[in-house]
Symmetry: C2
Subunit: 554 residues, 2 copies
Amino acid sequence: MPTDIEISRAAALLPIAEVAAKLDIPPLAVEPYGHHKAKVAVDALPKRDATGKLILVTAINPTPAGEGKTTTSVGLADALSRSGRRTALCLREPSLGPCFGTKGGAAGGGYAQVVPMEDINLHFTGDFHAITSAHNLLAAMIDNHIYWGNALGLDVRRVSWRRVLDMNDRALRDIVHSLGGATNGYPRESGFDITVASEVMAILCLASDLADLEARLGRIIVGYTADRRAVTARDLNAAGAMAALLAQAVKPNLVQTLEGTPAFVHGGPFANIAHGCNSVIATRTALDLADYVVTEAGFGADLGAEKFFDIKCRMAELAPDAVVIVATVRALKMNGGVAKSDLAAPDVAAVHRGGANLMRHLENLAQFGVPAVVAINRFASDTEEEIAAVRAIAAAQACQAVVCTHFSDGGAGAGELAEAVAALADSGSARFMPLYDDRLSLFDKINTVAKRIYRAEEAVADASVLAQLRRWEADGFGDLPVCMAKTQYSFSTDPTRLGAPSGHVVHVREVRLAAGAGFVVAICGEIMTMPGLPRVPAAEGIRVNAAGQIDGLS
Amino acid sequence: MPTDIEISRAAALLPIAEVAAKLDIPPLAVEPYGHHKAKVAVDALPKRDATGKLILVTAINPTPAGEGKTTTSVGLADALSRSGRRTALCLREPSLGPCFGTKGGAAGGGYAQVVPMEDINLHFTGDFHAITSAHNLLAAMIDNHIYWGNALGLDVRRVSWRRVLDMNDRALRDIVHSLGGATNGYPRESGFDITVASEVMAILCLASDLADLEARLGRIIVGYTADRRAVTARDLNAAGAMAALLAQAVKPNLVQTLEGTPAFVHGGPFANIAHGCNSVIATRTALDLADYVVTEAGFGADLGAEKFFDIKCRMAELAPDAVVIVATVRALKMNGGVAKSDLAAPDVAAVHRGGANLMRHLENLAQFGVPAVVAINRFASDTEEEIAAVRAIAAAQACQAVVCTHFSDGGAGAGELAEAVAALADSGSARFMPLYDDRLSLFDKINTVAKRIYRAEEAVADASVLAQLRRWEADGFGDLPVCMAKTQYSFSTDPTRLGAPSGHVVHVREVRLAAGAGFVVAICGEIMTMPGLPRVPAAEGIRVNAAGQIDGLS
């Protein structure tokens, strides 16, 4: 089989205007970026009701064996398109950081890719750069405000707004800036996060339109005064200019799959300290334009799907119609205790043991009232007995499990999955409800997720964390949902506890208020918001070849 | 008269394909960015000889009264177009930093603007962001190399490569990074410059094509080993990925003037520590496609024109055909000692006194063998006697001086200037030669510029600076031209010495080797490479209005 990049390069791409025409997007609403990418001017679209069926693709807990959530999303969208259904795909944009670090690109793989992959993986339409600029403008305005007299009385020890770069650069995690004397300001400790961890990214992805975006930017809390009064971006008169920097970025990007299915690739917030889904604007636009919309959430269903439901769907009033949970025999075997080097050997017992992970996720998804189907992303080494074991696990939860081979066969390999998903979505059986009520206390919300999704004995937090949550409730932030930041590898906070652990304790180390995005982050374990590069970064192998193509991206 | 932004918004823009068609750019070579911007795929253009006439627009030393170099460039290009001549304009891209700081935008003014001004002033086609990414990728790879064992033996005290952001942020001028413990690397002092000061920016603007770009990137010296061996970007295997990040940025951007004249707006290096001209690729492309190419250099002619000739034209083997030197009565009066508040009062004597500045520049331009014409950018308060005084000064140097009113009249206000410039360019009288020979020693080159252009008594430097220059000569960099960094307000290094000072001494405080860009920077005076924001940044007044337009940009 050819490599991802060979497949991508061999593809005959449709002009972007033709892709837009598949969804009846009027030409005036299509702002081309080159010949195969466009921004869609949402304001120039005819007003419609979002009547499309919304299908979430999530997965079991990720393992080094790989699950193929993105490829399944692409394959499913292509299969729905092939069946004559008017379909759109909604994905997140990849970050430059991991691209030059270890991953070398993220736009699906095999015959299930979005294209042009080189563009999507590099600067794309500039959204992440715009977010970086808007974030850092606010940072510059904070220190400038302090420099010119600090009329708002910011406590320089309590400035929480850091800076961002779309780069894996561990050297910037912790810095002291404003050194060098009086003309450079007041030295203080700070640092950089990667752009996907910016609250501006989360805001862009949750905003319903540009006005809502500006309002949310204005609510960002950048720090506190000595008497603990919050200082916001609005207090600094920064929100307008930040919104101006994001005016293009807020428009969804349109590209296509290898099979020409329209794909909105827009926004990409972290899936730990943020909610990990593509933008609300892209999803709503897709639901306006297509009959079936396939979208994806970050990490496994315990983190990704929970946040998709409890944060994105809650805020945007979206009602998903079906869920696809991606599993592989290999990943289930790893969840059942098999080492990565031993995965090639058939081991039905291990599939059954690891199947506890899948079963737990299916139980959890049922709590949200959305019907699910299991996609078995097939590998060549999978045996029929192993596949049958997965089907049995699904059946125990009254779910169908469908084998798909989109990686090697494109949409043709996900035809059965598409029919199963469409039937589920068309059935009208979904009765979506978030896990908890807005009015629950912040800690009770955390505890609810810990107990009902993670199956922990309880969530615990130090008195200072609980006091912080109560202060925010007193300040009027008690209605916000919680955004859990924990390891993606386990239901617990211990990345080595695979399968379906229970009885553990979730320790909330720290809480952060994202007042603009509109959630309270509960940090449970070590969360890295600025990755480093590996010993040999992918960047060392990336270059433009003699034909003008970019080598090394996958 | 309406404001710049009102004029810009009222303009009926041509679709970018029509602008491209004026220069017979084949549609396949036009990569649209929205409806009114495009990248031109130079490789897809038919091979031609660059037979266009090259016209440089420069100015007297800048004063707070304003000279209008960019508006004159735009007005002249429009006037040449109106006269039926096939014309293209080449300008630099503005930086986001000053846009949110004090300037609020830079794309000409009045009826002499390039459009769409909002796009050009904000992210445009993402070139500066690509440069920021490429620069910072190299920085991350340096610290990552040190982190993983420092096989190249970089002396952490001698790493000269800093980071950049396209932002005015004084807090980042001097930082200590890699704090926070072993996982974050080895703490060291460093800092950020603004993106226009990046050597990557200078490289992009001097490269002849993508292959040359990558070769130049590879030659960047990032620091030295303990035994003073240079370590380059190539040693770190970074140049390929940097070039990949710049593959789109290296293509020239096509926009239009208010009158529909094709304008290449591409690249924007600092005019002090770099050479301050738009990209070589844009200029060459324009010369291929148009019969007359109007371009602009930074600051006054002592800095901008000298570097245009001695760095850009020398490296790119360009032979300019004519020079326009922009002067205003008001600016000459300030050079003649009049305070800004007193400029409205007629003062022919002050024009004559300040005219020494213009005369000196005209003498200097003659040394390069390129014929010049003076453009008197007329203000309402100018009297006929004052205008006549300027004409007399020009005549004393055997130059024509032409009044123009493009700011209020567009191209129609620069018709006489266009005829004078075209006649000069068509005359074939230009005999371009750089000021000094490649083989002169580095310090002799500095001294030549100081004496022959700045009319200094001499250039002086500490022994350590002279020793550094000799080391670079020994290392094979002796053939490079020098890039002078000094105040733009005076021929001397003292910004208060206006007019035509002489007999001063140019003190070279520091020298820097830009081995990738291919010049040695001689720093004479305080040079700021990371600006700060003013007390009330322009950003506070920038926002998207209800009509979706961006207010506050000019």
